[in-house]
Amino acid sequence: MMNKDLPRWATGFVMPLLNLLSALLVTALVIHLLGESPTESLAILVNSAVVNPEGLSYTLFYASTFIFTGLAVSIAMEAGLFNIGAEGQMYFAGLGLTLAMLTFDSSLSAWLLIPIGMLGAALFGALWAFVPGYLQAKRGSHVVVTTIMFNYIAGALMNTIIVKLVPPGEQNPASRAFAAAAEMPRLNQWFPILGETPLNISFFLAIIALVIYGVVVSRSSWGFKLRATGLNKHAAHYAGIRISKMIIIVMLISGALAGLGSVNSIMGSTHYLSLNFVGGAGFIGIAIALMGRQHPVGIFLSAVLFGALTQGGFDLSLEKQNIPPEMVILVQGLIILFCGAMENLYGPAIAKMLKLKK
């Protein structure tokens, strides 16, 4: 209510910035306590994640995955569903993609393999979200609970399957590597300045997905129905929206989006399916959706921020002996805390200052 009176530049720019600074301040304190220099650490972080072109490309590579998982969580959230299962959906989607690649990578060209891989991933991701969606729609089983369960189930199932895909004589619990044709074209072939980077066209796909998401959710009649369902089920029913169908469809889309995240991770980087390749990207998607307020621009910025942390924090731990890689996790948590949960921390203060000036 307070914010209503604040100008947009304050709520949209100054406050998030202050929140981010607060998170960094706490981080700096921790770094100081660990006996390292906060300013140097920040310099390393920024340099590694943004200034250095190769680092920036890694930032954007991680961001591409996060955009997809962030979108997956966001779209479900618009319908009032809290999909905690992006992690499992992306994991299972990796299987769909991999099965497609293992089948076709020796016979088809890249132009066909990429769409097929995306389709496989989206399909399997959607499939993994279908059951929770269906149970929510038809049986009223809480989607939060079922998606958590489905994360665990995906873990167990994928473990069983991946072990079966290991080529004989290999140690790594992973499928065989795909043929070169099944690799997403990397951006460094057009922009050599990016250096050796896994950044690939998935990044553009992610941007396209953001735009489509933005248009569909806020400009289309389906998006209108989606949001109405999320905000008021009774009114949605009154408006003739088929709520159970909506829930199932939105969960399918959500799962498919989470699934597309695996295209970047697998076809864009490792080129094989390995155990636990998702590595928390699904959970980060929750943070991104919440911090980004389910808005395409917000999702993009949060995804890039988290990508930068993943990249920069890694270099930081490399250069600073006392800062373990786990420090990044703490910083992520702090940023979500300040920028996502306490977004209004400085609202009253700013309001007061503006009033005083007048």
């Binding site: 199932l157 072990v163 992520q332």
Partner: protein
């Protein structure tokens, strides 16, 4: 597979030992959510108290100091959550998730800094909480069934196990038969009504969150100073989420939540027992497949038996005075 292969006795004892982590956290979540505050941050609180309990327990070589320090840590986190959810009227889900993530990082960083063992605390050794042996256990040990029942199912656990089980009727009483509980439920259902009736909604929610923090700390202490004897990074391993699931499963009611926790403990124990055992029809299941048994069963039970869960109506929405 014969009946004996199932080792019912072992499963039951294992259930009793598995459940307390979930019971403490489940009851904690119940207080928070019954007051209207979503507590997805159980995981982070468990982890924080597990670490602090172990670290202080080790440093002082007294498990009870560890437990107390764990309580302080968990309650501090709960107050932060409360401050965000109640005073700041921020997003409760975000707050909880942020705390989970931050604690996963912080416990590692701090443990590493102090102990230099890769985010682990040293072994507590004798500073652990050990199992209580009921008087006369040795004497009755040899009586069939009754001996086992007395010495191993009822007896032979840590004090915290008894605390966990004793907690359930206590929570039930507080929620349904005390003034505090009446106000708690009212705040979670319709804070405006509570407010109009002269209940201080914010204070009530703060208290609920502090209780949640208090109870949740035992979950962490149980993990580190009872079950393991040290702290290890991310050792909560999803217990907070599982407890939350048990609570939703239990429809935000203490007794059913307790049953949910037992159910998870039980399925977990069954899963241990059937690993590697030749099952009728299916044959021998691969280890990883068996891991999913508890989760699949939960989904089935949720879809079949307890489809409709009714959350407290005001859950998740900050209380803003006005109509």
């Amino acid at each position: 597979m014969t009946f004996d292969d199932l080792h019912i006795g072992s499963i039951l004892v294992s259930t009793v030992r598995n459940a307390p982590v979930l019971i403490f956290a489940g009851m904690a979540g119940l207080f928070a959510e019954r007051s209207g505050v979503i507590d997805i941050g159980l995981e982070g609180k468990i982890l924080a108290s597990a670490f602090v309990s172990a670290a202080v327990g080790f440093a002082t070589q007294n498990p009870w100091y560890g437990v107390m320090a764990g309580i302080v840590a968990s309650m501090l986190l709960a107050s932060l959550q409360a401050y965000i959810a109640i005073t700041q009227k921020g997003n409760q889900l975000v707050a909880g998730i942020a705390i989970n993530i931050a604690m996963s990082g912080l416990t590692f960083v701090v443990a590493q800094y102090f102990f230099q063992q890769g985010g682990r605390t040293p072994d507590l050794g004798s500073a652990r909480l050990f199992d209580v042996v009921l008087p006369g256990s040795a004497a009755v040990e040899h009586i069939p069934f009754l001996g086992w029942f007395y010495a191993h199912l009822i007896g032979g656990h840590s004090v915290l196990v008894y605390l966990a089980f004793a907690l359930v009727p206590l929570v039930h009483w507080v929620v349904y038969h005390s003034r505090f509980g009446l106000r708690l439920r009212a705040c979670g259902e319709n804070p405006h009504a509570a407010d109009a009736a002269g209940v201080n909604v914010e204070r009530q929610r703060y208290m609920a969150m502090l209780i949640a923090g208090f109870l949740c700390s035992f979950s962490g202490a149980y993990l580190s100073i009872v079950q393991s004897g040290f702290f290890l990074r991310d050792m909560s391993a999803g217990a907070g989420y599982l407890a939350l699931t048990a609570m939703v499963f239990g429809n935000w009611r203490p007794l059913y939540t307790f049953l949910g926790c037992l159910m998870f403990g039980f399925f977990g124990a069954v899963q241990i027992q059937i690993e590697g055992v030749e099952l009728p029809v299916i044959g021998r299941l691969p280890g990883a497949m068996i891991q999913m048994v508890p989760y699949v069963l939960t989904v089935i039970v949720l879809a079949g038996l307890m489809a409709k869960s009714v959350a407290p109506k005001a859950l998740g929405s900050p209380f803003v005075k006005s109509r």
